[in-house]
Symmetry: C2
Subunit: 200 residues, 2 copies
DNA sequence: GTCTATAGGGTGATAGAC
DNA sequence: GTCTATCACCCTATAGAC
């Protein structure tokens, strides 16, 4: 692994654990096993490093979802596919949600600007979903619901446990492994709840 | 309002907006319209101030839920009551979830210790819920489900939008008022989804 | 109680040797 | 490319006047 990759890996760990404000360049350097000055040699500033990592995490989290949302699966199957994909991603990267959501919270304007620059596809995906729901509703397959509400419900059920991961682990005494297993075990339950909610 | 109250109010605002690490004593002092030194006169350190505010927020968020969870309402009504109470609290204090969850994330051990000291009632509430579900299941009223899963599902559907508040507002263009209205408007939908999930 | 001034320590960033 | 040394700033906390 190159030094640059070592640094990025270390920085990813520290930034996702502590957030931008509490992260220390010194800790990143130690984690990477190199000197503090070298971080600046490769990435110039803490801010630049953070931006690279944030965009990478943001993309890796939302990539794939649009593909599924805009596929031509019938809505009930689409729900199952999105939930499946979401939980797979979350189990692989359990730290992403709180990392992204917290940074957006600390600095909403900057983060929203960045997201808009990166990715204007969320509103479009919701529109397409609305159209599909309308169609299947007219065909008498499902209830009429809002595409946006549906997306929020899917996200809520999938993502929230990961946002509250440390609270859940602390309260129940689960370790990391047990938590991930618990999160995955809810898949069919979540899909069932969502499908029940829109089936006639 | 006394100086102490002014400080607490200002500190609450800054801590909940920025989190502990990014919050600045100077900003709190300016917000309170007083001198920085006075913060230390009243509260000694940033940490002490934070602890007071964190515990207050944590309590005000969970207070009331146990009462409802351990009441003798049938489970379907209990769900409606919890969701109603939760959304009321969230609309009044929309900033609490990400504040609490993020601080737990940055410093899990310390926060979990504090929570255990404060409040050991979550596991008990879950146990009682399990017993009630078992009873109503045997009476043929509802499906058999896990009390813990149910609690997670309620929390997910109620809390997640508030955790993602700034993302949702940024992506949709809603302002604060519109967001709160949207969040409240989901109440019946959430209750319906949850009740459907356990009705026979 | 409230202020000004400043100590004291940490943190991001840079200069310069190798 | 990688290091040591150091700068310059920021931030919490305290001392001391009023």
């Amino acid at each position: 692994m190159t030094t640059e990759e070592q640094i990025l890996q270390a920085a990813t760990k520290v930034f996702t654990e502590k957030g931008f404000a509490a992260a220390r360049m010194d800790e990143i350097a130690k984690e990477a096993g190199i000197n503090r000055a070298l971080l600046h040699y490769y990435f110039r500033s803490k801010e630049k490093m953070f931006e690279i990592i944030f965009e990478d995490k943001f993309r890796s989290f939302f990539a794939g979802i649009y593909g599924i949302l805009s596929s031509d699966l019938p809505i009930l199957e689409k729900i199952a596919a999105v939930v499946d994909h979401e939980l797979q991603t979350l189990v692989k990267h359990p730290e992403i949600p709180i990392f992204i959501l917290n940074e957006i919270n600390v600095n909403p304007e900057r983060m929203i600007r960045r997201i808009h620059r990166e990715d204007a596809s969320i509103p479009e995906a919701v529109k397409m979903l609305d159209a599909q729901i309308q169609k299947e509703f007219e065909q008498g397959i499902i209830k009429r619901i809002g595409g946006f509400s549906l997306v929020i419900e899917i996200m809520s059920l999938c993502i929230y446990p990961f946002v509250a991961k440390n609270l859940i682990m602390g309260v129940t005494g689960m370790d990391r492994e047990a938590f991930l297993q618990f999160a995955l075990s809810r898949k069919q339950e979540i899909i069932g709840i969502l499908q029940n909610g829109i089936k006639l």
